[in-house]
């Protein structure tokens, strides 16, 4: 469960995320009746393979102070440990179910050196949109297929 200020900050910033995903054929899902205020699910499609849909779960601990946990699932509310739910993209590690890049909690946990310097987590602007746009841009420009 996240604190009330984080929940309100997420609610304010998620409006731009809805708009961004709608423009690109994606979708943001927030199950207020099931999940607490920290969890969001996004449906994303690679530009080169629009018939493929991926669902990522974004879990916030504090917003905007900390990077979220990001994992792919086999559907909204689905399992987070299905290899085929993951796209093949450099640094997206389907075998360990994490993304080793400096916009996820998993990445910062693995690379303490990212916590300072140019890769440090940024609280400016709309970090929620930043994370979702990173996922969409990686799918658009670095996608190599579905993990098997």
């Amino acid at each position: 469960m996240i604190d009330e200020e984080s929940r309100l900050n997420l609610e304010a910033d998620r409006v731009a995320v809805y708009e961004f995903l709608a423009q690109l054929g994606g979708e943001l899902v927030h199950r207020a009746d099931v999940d607490d205020g920290s969890l969001y699910w996004v449906r994303l499609r690679p530009r080169s393979a629009p018939e493929e849909t991926y669902v990522a779960r974004i879990g916030w601990s504090r917003y905007p102070q900390a990077a979220p946990s990001v994992k792919f699932a086999d559907g909204v509310g689905g399992s987070l440990t299905v290899t085929r739910a993951w796209p093949v993209i450099a640094a997206y590690r389907a075998a360990s179910f994490d993304i080793c890049k400096p916009f996820t909690a998993e990445g910062f946990a693995l690379h303490a050196e990212w916590r300072t310097g140019p890769q440090a987590w940024s609280m400016s602007g709309n970090p929620f949109l930043w994370v979702v746009s990173q996922l969409q841009d990686d799918l658009n420009h670095r996608y190599q297929g579905r993990s098997q």
Partner: protein, 90 residues
């Protein structure tokens, strides 16, 4: 595209998720994507780093720096672009 068409100004808006406000500027149709990217990055206070590269997108398509705004805008008087910070490490 005719020479006359190339001379009209295009109102360009560049958004960047980590910036509180978008960048706005007027550019001639022969201006390049690279010129807009440089101006937007200056406005946003970001610069190239060994671990990341920046590029502009239009409707999800990555734009090469050498492409002209007139080519992208066709006959439109405005363009909405997005600055992407591509994190290359992992």
């Amino acid at each position: 595209m005719s020479e006359k068409e190339q001379q009209h100004d295009i109102q360009v808006t560049v958004t960047f998720p980590l910036a509180p406000q978008p960048f706005h500027g007027n550019f001639g149709a022969p201006s390049t994507v690279g010129q807009v990217r440089a101006a937007a990055m200056t406005k946003f206070g970001v610069h190239e780093e060994p671990s990341s590269v920046y590029y502009l997108t239009h409707n999800g398509e990555r734009l090469p720096d050498e492409r002209t705004l007139g080519d992208i805008a066709d006959h439109a008087s405005g363009l909405k672009l997005r600055l992407v910070k591509d994190l290359v490490q992992g």
